[in-house]
């Protein structure tokens, strides 16, 4: 279980990026964080990855507090961030160097087969397309068999078809390990395609505005009525999150300048 409790982040210059975030995700659940630019989605993910420190509240995974990079947490960044001096296979195995050789090789082989890149094992990252590189990045994160997988808009720079294919690759690999997935996205379709729950965020300061369960069976068909309904619900929640808070609206209506 991933638990974010009263989580807050204020930068040294006083900017409040996140305020009072409370979130729980169960084992094997895919949770999407969705919201407009500047609502603190990536900040939240970086805190969960232990790459930044919270200024308030706690993050815990199965009861253990996360205060820095953790062996049970893996991250896939917005860009593939493959190490160009390592082959595709060595990139996939980057985080499992400590394992016995046979075990390491078997995990790499299995992951590469799962993402359809088995024949690319000995190539350099430069020889792969953007989509292929991102598959390798996902495989690199999942071969460590994390309890929590953090995805920071890893598909945002890809075209729609590559993205759909990568959703498939992600779900394939996720099936093997079934970690909690916390993914940041600004794509409503993507959230409905992948997530079991979507957390809609609002900005200034970043906080959770609404929480919507997505109960469609997988694989999800994007033209189905249920899919379209969930997309609509999520869009409405996002629209609402973009509105100023009630008190501000009331003040505006009353003609107050503050």
């Amino acid at each position: 279980m991933l638990t974010l409790s009263h989580l807050g982040k204020t930068y040294a210059d006083g900017t409040q990026a996140l305020s009072n975030i409370n979130l729980e995700a169960r084992a094997g659940e895919i949770a999407a964080l969705i919201g407009g630019s500047g609502c603190g989605k990536t900040t939240l993910l970086r805190l969960a990855a232990g790459l930044d420190h919270a200024t308030g509240g706690t993050i815990s995974l199965d009861g253990e507090r996360i205060t820095g990079p953790h062996p049970a947490v893996a991250v896939v960044f917005q860009e593939p961030r493959l190490l160009p001096w390592l082959t595709v296979a060595d990139n996939v195995g980057f985080g499992i160097d400590h394992l016995p050789r046979n075990e390491r090789e078997s995990r790499i082989e299995h992951a590469l087969a799962r993402i359809g890149l088995a024949e690319h094992a000995g190539r350099w990252p430069r020889d792969l397309s953007g989509g292929q590189q991102q598959r390798v990045a996902i495989a690199r994160a999942l071969v460590t068999r994390p309890k929590l997988l953090l995805l920071d808009e890893p598909f945002s720079a890809l075209d729609a078809f590559t993205r759909a294919s990568l959703h498939g690759a992600l779900l394939d690999l996720w099936e093997d390990v079934r970690p909690i997935v916390l993914m940041v996205t600004h794509d409503v379709s993507e959230a409905v395609t992948l997530a079991d729950r979507a957390f809609v965020m609002r900005a200034r300061p970043g906080r959770i505005h609404d929480e919507l369960p997505i109960t469609l069976a997988r694989p999800r068909v994007q033209t189905s009525t249920g899919f379209e309904q969930d997309v609509r619900r999520l869009l409405e929640a996002l629209d609402e999150a973009r509105q100023p808070p009630q008190t501000e609206r009331a003040a505006q209506a009353a003609g107050h300048w503050w």
């Binding site: 960044f77 190490l83 087969a113 690319h120 953007g130 294919s165 779900l171 694989p219």
Partner: protein
């Protein structure tokens, strides 16, 4: 944009299989990605073509000057024709001490290069990795970097004597600065995002240095070593001017004192060949280490 009706699985789609070679195959065809073929740059024909191009200018000048001297348009006293230089070169190689001089120079450059490179890499790495050490060291080293090589000679003779040590130290100083600068700058310009990958995988400081920082700065380090080696060959001349009894620099001084222009030119050519051979050897030995680089070199 409409998305596919059902989500395809990675194993049965090839919609993002474009390779760096630029082949984009539509998903429907299921065509495998184009294997990356050996670059034409590695072909034998390419090498011959480049060698021929590289030889046009020096051969043209040599033939022109030979003809000018042969037909009496030039005297060839201050700048001897290629035939006379070749003959001097041959005499030095067969009956003189050319190999002794070449070896003396080469030994000095190699030892000086090794000392300068090790010191440059060590201090460059420390300076690049620590802001405190950088602020402490860098201003002084940058000031010393601009001191001309000749200026060190009197001091080095007083410190290390007239024999080998002062010569080797002078070369080491010449090699040190470009290597120091290249390594320090290399570390400072490492992509922050790659370091973050190391952090996300909880690498220790040592593992971070071994698995991320060192490989990342390898291209800059090798370029710095090449610059250092080139400067090593420049500094060896200055070093051998300070009272050497052997070495290609000595041949230059001896040629000047005896008015032997052909010997001077032969020594200069020997320097050029030796420097080029050393550089080629360095590049050949180190290029497999950076073959992962995605550079434009093979395409030019």
């Amino acid at each position: 944009m409409a998305l596919p009706n059902s989500l395809p699985r990675a194993a049965d789609t090839h919609d993002d299989t474009a390779t760096a070679a630029g082949s984009h195959e539509p998903a429907a065809t299921g065509v495998e990605p184009t294997p990356v073929t050996a670059s034409p740059a590695s072909g034998k024909g390419w090498f011959g073509e480049h060698l021929a191009l590289a030889l046009i200018l020096p051969l043209g000048l040599a033939i022109g000057w030979e003809a000018a001297v042969s037909f009496g348009y030039a005297e060839g006293r201050l700048m001897p024709p290629p035939s006379r230089i070749a003959s001097t070169f041959q005499d030095l190689a067969l009956y003189g001490d050319l190999w002794l001089h070449v070896w003396a120079t080469l030994w000095r450059v190699l030892v000086g290069f090794a000392l300068g490179a090790v010191a440059g890499i060590a201090l460059g790495a420390i300076s690049g990795a620590s802001g405190l050490i950088r602020n402490l060291l860098d201003p002084t080293l940058q000031a010393l970097r601009s001191v001309p090589s000749i200026a060190w000679i009197p001091l080095f003779i007083l410190w290390f004597g007239i024999f080998e040590t002062s010569k080797v130290m002078l070369i080491a100083v010449g090699v040190f600065f470009p290597v120091y600068l290249g390594v320090a700058q290399g570390i400072l310009s490492i992509d922050r995002k790659l370091v973050e990958v190391g952090r996300a995988f909880r690498l220790s400081r040592l593992a971070m240095a071994r698995r991320i920082l060192l490989p990342a700065i390898l291209p800059e380090t090798l370029t710095a070593l090449r610059s250092g080696l080139g400067l090593g060959f420049m500094f060896v001349v200055a070093a051998e001017f300070m009272g050497a009894s052997e070495g290609l620099g000595y041949l230059l001084v001896d040629g000047q004192q005896m008015g032997l222009t052909d010997q001077i030119v032969a020594a200069i050519i020997a320097f050029a060949l030796l420097g080029k051979a050393a550089d080629w050897l360095l590049v050949t030995l180190t290029s497999p280490l950076i073959r992962w680089q995605d550079t434009v070199r093979e395409r030019l």
